[in-house]
Amino acid sequence: MKPDSKDHWLARPESIRLLWRVFAIVLAATVVAQLVIGVKGYFGVDGWFGFGAAFGFLSCVAMVLFAKALGFLLKRNTDYYDDGEHGDV
């Protein structure tokens, strides 16, 4: 641990708030930019306004939730394979 009370700039709460704001502006900008720059969709639907944003967000939510659900089934303790019970090589 550093003796000085001030942590790295990136770790301070006020800079994290600032980063969130910048991130939000960038996100909004990428969607608004579609008004100016046309996205040529290959199948119609992917040319819709904000399709990339919605598709990216929703597919990530779906994947995280699916992984979470699968985790209940598949997760084991780290030493699952080394308990010696089954003499695994």
């Binding site: 990136l10 930019a33 579609q34 199948f43 904000g50 990339g52 990216g56 939510v61 994947m63 598949l74």
Partner: protein
């Protein structure tokens, strides 16, 4: 016979020399061998360079073509920069094994016939196992054995297929085929095992993270990508590969999301990235094959870069789990920045090599109006950003302050990372550098405003999803079961169960035999023993008078005569 020096043999000799010399001379060999190999690779002309007689066959161990040179180039480059990364920290035998492993990969790249391909294939299996073992821990030893078993099994399956093709077609040439009969299916299965395709994807994430911090850099590059090259040469346009590739893409994302070990996250994302390539080979158009080759080239660089970054963290801290790490950006800025560049490249962020290569595959899917494939690949691109692009740097370098204040990378490791990080950006900014070496002429334009905007939306909003869902992604001290549970646990339990039953049956049989024997023994004792512990000997052991004997003989003969007459 050798009017031309095969590049693979040169690197193999270099690997042997590493063990024979030491000090500055060894360092010189470490850098000279891949450089010389690289130079020779670019001298290999198109077509078969020479052939060798073996039994009744004409082997063609050296055949050039643009895609073969492309893969051999990146393998040699990987050996060179990997050597730079590792040479001051790794044991000499790990370096020698890694170079021999790279030589096997280059040999596969130039193999003009199935038999040469198989020989170099097995060379890779052998020396990659040694690299896994160089992890030096009991876990690495065990994982190395599992790794070797899987790859030797894959080799046998490949060999069965090759034998079948040779017997039924009489040709050992490497030429495009489709999986239409038993032989070709066996070859395809043998290749796919090395590509970490389902159901055996688990070998990759099982073994690579057990190797040393330097070993995993080499391991990440060769085995799966030689499988990709072999699939390009042998099975372009095989429809089964589309589905297999898509499965690998999703498998990699889901398992990486569940994972806690930082190098295992990266290992799962190898399966994910190879899935993109396998899918492209399945699509099989010129654009798709170009995409697969370009993506393999770019992938080796950014994946090695990610493993280098993770390797420095493991080397400096001794920890390899997300739950033990965090906040390392304070003292490891170079490692963090290089790791982030690798993470952006793997996510296919504009201006990185991932964008200029992966979007070719998506474009190929769109051109063939494979709607589902296109949208699944787009979702997967978002997922890659989620599981590797943000998750890896976030949990290692940011997240919370773990209190660890390790030093940044040693200079050679840092330099290797900077070289590969530079290449990630160079190929992203100037894709023509790579496009001109692809197997088919490239008319693909990576940067159109609409496409860049689409991918920026896709990726940045998956970033938003990551941070909003962070509470759901809290790392746990767990591993995730995979298909290898079937043979590591279930098969073992079945085998030990069968052994127990056999043992019990054996016991029952031997105790029954014992009972019969002791019963016979008692009987024999009673009738034959002269001193059975009784007051007089057994009936056959007694001394009978001659008269009694004569009487019984007379009775016996009389009864015989009587029986004879009637």
């Amino acid at each position: 016979m050798f009017e031309f020096l095969p590049p693979a043999i040169v690197l193999l000799l270099g690997a042997m020399l590493i063990g024979l010399v030491r000090g500055a001379l060894r360092t010189a060999v470490l850098f000279a061998a891949p450089l010389l190999t690289l130079w020779l690779i670019w001298l290999v002309p198109d077509g078969v360079v020479f052939d060798v007689g073996f039994l009744d066959y004409r082997l063609e161990p050296l055949e050039g073509s643009p895609v073969r040179r492309l893969f051999a180039t990146i393998f040699a480059l990987m050996a060179l920069v990997g050597g730079l990364y590792a040479y001051r920290q790794a044991k000499w035998y790990e370096l020698a094994a890694a170079y021999a492993y790279a030589a096997g990969a280059i040999g596969v790249s130039f193999a003009g016939d199935l038999i040469s391909l198989f020989l170099f294939w097995e060379l890779m299996a052998l020396f990659s196992t040694v690299v896994v073992w160089c992890g030096g821990t009991p876990g690495a030893r065990a994982a190395g054995i599992r790794y070797a078993v899987m790859h030797l099994l894959g080799g046998v399956i490949l060999k069965v297929g090759i034998e079948g093709v040779v017997v039924h077609t009489g040709s050992i040439d490497i030429q495009p085929m489709l999986a239409t009969n038993f032989d070709t299916w066996m070859i395809l299965a043998g290749l796919l095992i090395n590509a970490a395709a389902p159901p055996v994807s688990a070998w990759l994430a099982d073994s690579y993270p057990e190797s040393s911090p330097t070993g995993s850099v080499f391991l990440s590059a060769f085995t799966t990508k030689t499988a990709v090259l072999a699939l390009i040469l042998l099975f372009p346009g095989e429809p089964a590969l589309i589905g297999i590739g898509l499965f690998m893409v999703m498998y990699g994302i889901i398992y990486a999301l569940l994972e806690n070990d930082i190098r295992r996250i990266l290992a799962f994302s190898i399966v994910n990235q190879v899935g993109f390539m396998v899918c492209a080979i399945g699509i099989g158009t010129e654009l798709a094959i170009n995409g697969a080759a370009a993506h393999a080239f770019a992938h080796i660089i950014y994946k090695a870069l990610l493993f280098m970054s993770a390797g420095v963290v493991v080397y400096r801290t001794g920890f390899n789990r997300c739950t033990e790490l965090g906040g390392l950006f304070r003292t490891m800025p170079l490692t963090a920045i290089c790791g982030i560049i690798g993470a952006l490249a793997i996510s296919g962020f504009p201006l990185t090599s991932g964008f200029t290569t992966k979007t070719m595959i998506s474009q190929a899917a769109a051109n063939e109006t494979l709607i589902a494939v296109y949208f699944l690949l787009a979702a997967a691109s978002a997922g890659v950003f989620l599981h590797a692009g943000i998750k890896f740097p976030w949990f290692v370098f940011f997240q919370r302050d773990s209190g660890l204040r390790p030093k940044d990378a040693p200079w050679n490791m840092g330099l290797a990372m900077v070289v590969f990080a530079g290449l990630c950006i160079l190929l992203g900014v100037a894709p023509q550098l790579l496009y001109q070496f692809l197997p088919y002429p490239v008319e693909y334009e990576a940067y159109t405003p609409g496409k860049v905007l689409f991918y920026l939306q896709l990726l940045l909003f998956s970033g938003l999803a990551f941070f909003l869902l962070l509470p759901l992604m809290k790392r746990t001290e767990t591993i995730s079961l995979d298909a290898d549970w079937l043979w590591r646990v279930l098969l073992y339990r079945l085998a030990s169960g069968a052994y127990g039953i056999a043992k019990a049956a054996g016991h029952a049989a031997s105790s029954a035999a014992d009972a019969v024997l002791s019963r016979l023994h008692v009987l024999a004792n009673r009738h034959f023993s002269s001193s059975p512990g009784k007051d007089r000997p057994g009936i056959f052991a007694r001394a009978w008078p001659i008269g009694t004997t004569a009487l019984w003989i007379a009775v016996l003969l009389t009864s015989y005569v009587l029986v004879y007459y009637f």
